[in-house]
Amino acid sequence: MTALSRAIARPDPVAGFGHRSPLHGLGRRRIGIVDLAAQSVAAVAPAAAATTVVLLVAGVAPGITVPAIVAAAVLSLCVARTVGEFARRFAAAGGLYTYTARGLGTRAGLAAGAAILTGYAAVAMFALLGGGYYATYLLAGIWPALDRPLVTAGAVIVEAALVAFVLVRGIRVSARAALVVESLSVALIVVLLCVLLVSIGPVDVAAVIGARTAGGLDPVALAAGAVIALTAFVGFESATTLGVESISPLRNVPRAITGTVVLSAALYVLAAVTQVAGFDALGGDLAASASPVNDLAAAYGLGGWGVVADIGIAASFLACAIGTTTALVRVLFAMSRDGVLPASLGRAHRRFGTPAAAVGAALPVIAGVPLVLVGAGVPVRDAMHVTLSVGAAGYIVSYVLVCVAAPVFLRRIRELTPVSAVIAGLSACALAAALVAFFVDDAAAGGTAGVVVMVLAVTAAVLIGVLRRRHGLEAIGRYDEPVAAQVLGGVPSPRRHDDA
C-alpha cells in the first residue's frame, strides 16, 4: 500500500474541482432511498394505472393481456438499467435531459429536455384532471345536484395549491406526502384485488397466460398491448431528478428506479390476473367492461369496495401530480443553471432548499391548461385522454434519446461493456417501434394527441435552434460535481461555477 499511504500522508494537489457544486442552493443529501422510491412510484401512479391500464391492454390484446404487461415490464426494466448507467456515475437535477446532453451533446440534450418536460407537464395536467374527476365523481354520489365542471375546476385549483405548498416547503415534505398518499392507495388496491382473487377461487392458468387464444400467439397484438402497458410504467425514471438531494445518490437512485419498475410490474400483473381470471370465471368479456374492477366487485358482492377503490385512485392521482411536478421543476432548475432558461428560474428557496422559482413558473401552466380545457366545455375524460397521450409520447421520446445516449457516453468515458450496449440498443429500437405504433394507433383512433405532439415538436425544434444560436451553448448538462473538499488534496478553483 505504498502509493496509497504516501498519497494519504502527503496528498498531491488536485486542481479542477470547484469550491461549490454547480447546482448549489438545492438542499443536498437530504432524502433516503424510501423517499426517493416514493418519488418514482408517485410519478408512475401504479394504483391509478393498475385499475385502468388492464382494460386498455385487453382492448388491443384480448386473451394475451398478462403476457403483454410482462413484455412491457421487461422493456421498462431494460430502460431503467440503461438510465441507471448514468445515475450510477453522476447525480443531476436534470434527469434524462442532463444524461442525454452528456452523451449526445447540446441539441439532443435539449430535445430530450423538451420531451421530458412535455411528459412531466402533460402527465401533471392529466393527474390534476384525474384527481378533479374522481373528486367530482365522489362528491356527486353525496350531492347529485352539483355543477360538475365547476366542482372539477375547483378541485383542480385546490390540488394545484396543495402541490405548490408541498413542493416549496421542501423535498422531504413532498416526498413524504407522496409516499403516504401512494402507499395508502396502493394498499387499498392490493387489498381489493386480493379479496377479489380469493373470491374468484382457483385461477385458470391457461386462460391467464393466453395459451387458449384461438390461432396461437398474435405478435402484433402482443406488441400493441405492450405499447399501451408501457405507458403505465412511465415516470419510473423521475427519481433521477432528485440525485442532488438524495443521500448516496449513485447507489440509491438506480435502486429506486429499478425497484419502482419491479413494484409496478407486480401490481399490474396482480391486477391483470385478477381481472382476466375474474371475467373468465364469470364468462364475461373484459374488453367490453366500462370499469372492470367495479364490475368484478359488484359481481362478487363487494359493491361497497368500489367507493374505496375510487378514493384510492383519487389519492393516487394527487400523488402523481406531486411526483411529476417535483421532477418537472428540477429539470427547469437544471436548464436554468445550464443557461438555457432565464437565470431567475434557477433560484432556490433560501430556507427550504427547493427550486421555488421554477415551481412558481410551472404551476400556473400546469393548472391553467386543465382549467381552460374544462372551461371550454371539453369533457374531462377526453381532456385526460389527450394529456395522457401527449405525456406518454414525451416520455417515450426522451427514453429513446437517453437509450441512444448511454452507449455513446459510456464509450466516451471508456467504460462501455457489451452487455450495456446490447441492452441500450435493444431498448432504443423497441421504444422507437413503440413510439411509431403509438402514433399510428392514435391516428387510427382519430385522436388529437398526434397533432398536439406535432405542434409541440415543431415549437421545440424552433426554440432549440434559437437557443443554440443565442447562447452558443458550449456545455450543457451540468451535474452535481464533487467539490474540492471531497477530493484528497483537492484545491478549489474559485472561478469555477461562480457564474452560476
Binding site: M1, A3, L4, S5, R6, A7, I8, A9, P11, D12, V14, G16, F17, R20, I31, G32, I33, V34, D35, R88, R89, F90, R102, I247, S248, L250, R251, N252, R412, I413, R414, E415, T417, V419, E481, P482, A485, Q486, V487, L488, G489, G490
Partner: protein
C-alpha cells in the same frame, strides 16, 4: 432518515476487498484523472469487474470522478483508512501534567483530541472516565461536542445542530452536548488553536449533565488548562 454507510460485505468474497484496495492503490500510483480502462490494464482485472469496483468505490466516496466523468481521483474519505494505521500520538510530559491537574480538580472525564485532516484523533482519553463510544464519534461526529466543534469550523456545514453549536461557541467559547447520548450526562469541547488561530484540537469534559447545562463552573477551570495546552501541543 440515516443510511448505513457500510456496504454489505460477503465473507465469501474476500477477494473483492483486496481488489478494491488494489484499485485505490492504482489510483494513488497512477495519479488523479486516471481512467477506469487504464486501471483495469494496470491491475490486469477484467474490465466489467473494474467498472463495477470503481463505481462501488465512487458510491462510497473513496474515489471521486473528475468533472469530465472519465477520470478518477482519490476521495478525501480515504484519509479515514489511514486512521487505522497511523501511530498513536502521545502528549509531551509538560502537556500531560496540565491535563493531570485538570483531571484532579474537575472530577469528571477530561480528554484531549486533535483534528487531523477533518478527522478527530483522540490523543488522551481519561482512564477513569473513558469516552463513551470512540467509534461512534468518528462515524457520527455531529452527535458529540468534540465533533460539533470540528463541524462548526466548516462554513459549508448547516443544520439545526450546527447552528445551535455555533451559538454555544459564540456564547461559551465551547460546544456542548447535553443528555443526547445518555440522559444524565453531557460533554463540553473547548478549542485548542495554533498561533494563527486555526483549530488544531480540543480539550473536552464529560460529566454530569447539570455541569454542562450550567457550564460556568467547569469552564472556569477548563479554559486555563486549554490555554496552557495550546503552546505545548501545536
Amino acid at each position: 432518515m440515516r443510511e448505513t454507510a457500510a456496504p454489505a460485505l460477503s465473507a465469501r468474497q474476500p477477494g473483492a476487498v483486496h481488489s478494491a484496495l488494489s484499485v485505490l492503490e492504482a489510483v494513488a500510483h497512477l495519479g488523479a484523472g486516471v481512467s477506469a480502462q487504464r486501471i483495469s490494464a494496470e491491475l490486469g482485472l477484467p474490465r466489467a469487474t473494474t467498472y463495477r469496483l470503481v463505481n462501488l468505490l465512487v458510491e462510497d466516496e473513496y474515489l471521486v470522478r473528475t468533472p469530465d466523468l472519465a477520470g478518477f481521483a482519490l476521495g478525501a474519505k480515504v484519509a479515514q483508512l489511514a486512521a487505522v494505521a497511523s501511530p498513536p500520538v502521545r502528549l509531551s510530559s509538560a502537556a500531560r501534567s496540565v491535563v493531570d491537574d485538570a483531571r484532579r480538580v474537575l472530577r469528571g472525564g477530561v480528554h484531549v483530541a486533535l483534528y487531523v485532516d477533518r478527522r478527530i484523533v483522540v490523543v488522551d482519553s481519561d482512564p477513569d472516565f473513558p469516552l463513551s463510544d470512540e467509534a461512534r464519534l468518528a462515524r457520527e461526529p455531529e452527535r458529540f461536542a468534540l465533533g460539533r466543534l470540528l463541524l462548526v469550523e466548516d462554513p459549508a456545514a448547516t443544520g439545526e445542530v450546527i447552528e445551535a453549536a455555533r451559538a454555544d461557541l459564540a456564547r461559551w467559547g465551547a460546544t456542548r452536548q447535553s443528555g443526547e447520548i445518555t440522559a444524565t450526562t453531557g460533554c463540553l469541547a473547548l478549542p485548542i488553536r495554533d498561533g494563527a488561530g486555526v483549530l488544531a484540537g480540543a480539550l473536552a469534559f464529560s460529566g454530569a449533565r447539570h455541569r454542562v447545562d450550567e457550564p460556568d463552573g467547569v469552564l472556569a477551570q477548563l479554559r486555563p488548562a486549554a490555554d496552557a495546552l495550546a503552546p505545548l501541543m501545536v
